[in-house]
Amino acid sequence: MLRISIAAVALAAFAIGAVSGAAADDKPLQPWERKENHVKPPKGSPLDYLVSGYWFRTPKTRALQDDDFENPAFLWVEQAESEWTTVDGKAGKSCSSCHDAVEKSMKGVSARYPVYSAKNKKMMAITHQVNYCRENYMKAKKWKWESDKMLGMTSLIGLQSRGMPVNVSIDGPAKKFFEAGEKFYHQRRGQFDLACVHCHQGNFGMYIRADFLSQGHSNGFPTYRLKWQKLGSLHRRFRGCNNNIRAVPYKRGSPEYTNLELYLAWRGQGLKVEAPSVRQ
């Protein structure tokens, strides 16, 4: 009840026009409300059910993700497919020199990232690992976090986990990173004194201005955003969500964001990987 009334107030305050707000009792269930689109949350989850950001989007936006041709992210994926077998760096190697076919070697990899690397004594996102291979094994230059090449490669790797449930490990050495991410998620920050939890846990299914709030999961990243008109990383999204509440964003690939990535992945543990997804 209360959630509905707040949505109504938000709408009135910002007069966006005839956007129909939270569903009233007699309206048919919205896609994100339907049981068949829900996934059982992991043990200890603060959410009653998990639902992908996909189900909060309009049918037109979902259609762009449903067909790999309509999805512009595949322009990057195709580029990465040829990059996979392209020799680069002083070692004279390509990704395929060590990893053979991407369909086989990278199957299910993204679903369990980020992971704790004993060798590097830190949490590694896929992006970190790709650059680790480039620098150490290929003797090639790092790719920038948000470069077309990196986004294409992480999408190609993500694609090999499509449809598989997110399944990160948060125990053992990962525990303290997980806890740091959890803390970050709940920390109020910025001029508006808001935490991630306030928007994505307390208010999903409501409008913030005209934006329809989801549970803020990471299972679709990298994501082609209609707004960006390009593919973007999860850490770019973090920066956006930080900026919006007028909080100082961290750097892409920073330990803070990588810990947050781990915690967020666990919040969506069991959701199917959708990389590369399409969002508004």
């Binding site: 595949f74 990057w76 580029q79």
Partner: protein
């Protein structure tokens, strides 16, 4: 990174009309945006035209303006009378072109 993608049905039934889909990676710089640091206008650079030819004959043509989104997607219909080859050409401001082609059979 301007490599285009096209989707052309390989087999077309005689008399049928089929949908062709195309996509090309391009910024479609409008010419009205300013560089955030210098304040200078970023020069316009868009894909301004697109053409599809079947065996050398134009079947569909488009002129695009800056209102077309980045990574332009264009779909259209064809109803070819016989098997052939379809060539696609995208032209950027300044004259640079990008091409792709596909074969199909009509039976």
């Amino acid at each position: 990174m301007s490599r285009p993608r096209v989707r052309v049905p390989r087999k077309i039934k005689k008399g049928d009309t089929v949908t062709i889909k195309t996509l090309i990676a391009h910024k479609m710089e409008t010419g009205v945006r300013r560089n955030k640091k210098t304040g200078k206008l970023i020069p316009r650079k868009i894909i301004n035209s697109f053409e599809a030819k079947i065996d050398g004959k134009t079947v569909f043509k488009a002129a695009l303006h800056p209102a077309v989104s980045s990574n332009p997607y264009i779909s259209f219909a064809i109803s070819p009378k016989k098997s052939g080859k379809i060539d696609f050409v995208w032209t950027e401001d300044g004259g640079k072109t990008f091409t792709k082609s596909a074969k199909f059979t009509v039976a």
